[in-house]
Amino acid sequence: MVEPAQGGAWPRYRDDEVAEQPSVTLDAFLDQSNAGAVRLEPDDDARRLIPHLGRLSLIEIAFPKYRDGRGYSSARILREAGYIGELRAQGDVLVDQIAFMRRCGFDSFAPEGSLNPEAVERALAVYPHAYQGAADGAQAIWKLRHG
């Protein structure tokens, strides 16, 4: 994990270069086939991106309010469809949501407020296991039990 680059996202759990181009709205993306970064609002249907995932390097999912959990489903849908590019949670992202977001497939964060690095690390280390499968590859507890 590195300190935020100018205009970049932090924390970020990827080794590749940060996408240079600004993200466009879903409608703009679907009209303009050369964009490599797109931004989904909570009410955008993530499935509309599925035919185009191969040429996207960044999908930004907006959280205007942390209480609005639609973006968690959008993230999982994209990962389940095989998207391997950067998946960024942007907006009202708080330290106590980071662990769930990681499990849903987010690998970078652009919170409006700043996050305390120590608190982020602590939050990610709280739970030793997970009860259910999600997008992060963690083995569900039932899998650990039954080998």
Binding site: D96, H129, I141, H146
Partner: protein, 568 residues
Amino acid sequence: MYKYDNYDQAMVDARVAEFRDQVKRRLAGEMTEDQFKPLRLMNGLYLQLHAYMLRVAIPYGTLDSRQMRMLAHIARKYDRDYGHFTTRQNIQYNWIKLEECGDLLEELASVEMHAIQTSGNCIRNISSDQYAGAAADEVTDPRPWAELLRQWSTFHPEFSYLPRKFKIAVIASPEDRAAMRLHDIGLELVKKDGELGARVFVGGGMGRTPMIAPEINSFVKADDLLSYIEACLRVYNRYGRRDNIYKARIKILVHEIGADAYRAQVEEEFAHVKALGIDPPLAELERIAVFFDLPEPIQSEVRHSREGGDPSPDHSIDAIVQEIDSRLRGGDDWGAFETWVKQNVKPHKAPGYAIVNISLKPIGGIPGDASSSQMEVMADLAEKYGFDELRVTHAQNIVLPHVAKRDLYTVWQALSEAGLANANLDLISDIIACPGLDYCSLANARSIPVAQKISKRFGNLDRQRDLGELKLKISGCINACGHHHAGHIGILGVDRKGVENYQLTFGGSGAQDVSIGKIIGPGFDEDGVVDAVEKATEVYTRLREGEERFIDTYRRVGLEPFKEAIYG
């Protein structure tokens, strides 16, 4: 009963540590109340009128004596020596100090208990039939399925910021003792061609827009269940309304788009989710089910009676009374004991056993409250005479599910001494009531005093028993925590220009004859509503035919005769 393994314990311990840290940051001012709120709510901690209220989960209402003693200890050490059992089969404490929460949760964790997801917009405690494992009419014990769902829903990363709270109930009997179809998801376990699976109902609920859940699937196989429920939740998380808190429950989504459209979306999502491999193998359900096996002496009796020892056991209460030691019949207390057996004891699937209901509804008391010492008495009785099991019911009572018939008298005596032998199960004084304006920051009116007045008005047990089954439920606001929509008689407290006013509804039911009550007319003040209830019971006794219950008579004759007597 389910026992935690190292994984389960590690998860609960981690939660305690996490919440301790969150409380510390809140107390240090590193977090605003607004930021802290969703975190404490996922730990069952509410800020009420006078203090913090903590709701402790009792998964599917099942607990053992050690856990009940811990609940008593918590009440004594951290609260004012009592707790309140809720309609979600949980317990809540009304006078909790934020700075003591970490210690309290740590004590709970030491007996495999927690407050995880007892509030907040997430999947709440899974509720079930309080007679599970003991009921003669069940196709299987629903609790292993409920435990499977508990684990799947715990810290679910995708469904922790849903549009609104989400409640799931699981039953396995044709008789519905858990208000199953008034849940966001209701599951009824059924057998099809020898295989167990679930009928799935989605979109029920009470609140300001009561709805009965329509059937979305008539049979989901055990090893598809989690995928199917995950699909149900994902459709809701994506499309449930978030613009208006009062329209955010799944019932509104299902109602607005229609059950068929919702079903189609779920099927589509299920086809996708099923491929992810999130369903545990049946071996996991079997692993869990072993914990719920009946105690050996009961099992061998069930086997014996099935194998032709008694081809058609008489499960009636009269049969139970007949079997009780005849030497007791001469005693001064025989009458009171016999009445209690007839009212509060229910037949068990094993011939030598019975189900004991402990009513937490003394005349003039607060429905669902129990003192620390009462909790300890119940724990002792469970340990000595009940194979160490207790249940909490959605009607705010306690059950000892496996008591040998020969011990009934001893158990009754001990309950009597503790003020717990109220023989009023399912009678008019067995009232469900929310905490109301005495505690709750959402309430518009008080519920408890109304419950107390009605209970006193009908204090005479013979009169109550003559009225028979009459489910009366009181909510202090439109959120309907007191289940008034499902009451044969329901009372809803509202605020009318600064004055508490009570509306009366008739005809609701949370059982297998599920229905939503209808408002009968203009509201009343506190004493007026008690009078109106009394008048309604008089109309019933005048018009009833045969064995009709209040609700049967009401359904047959309609509202008019009642309205005439009350408003006439």
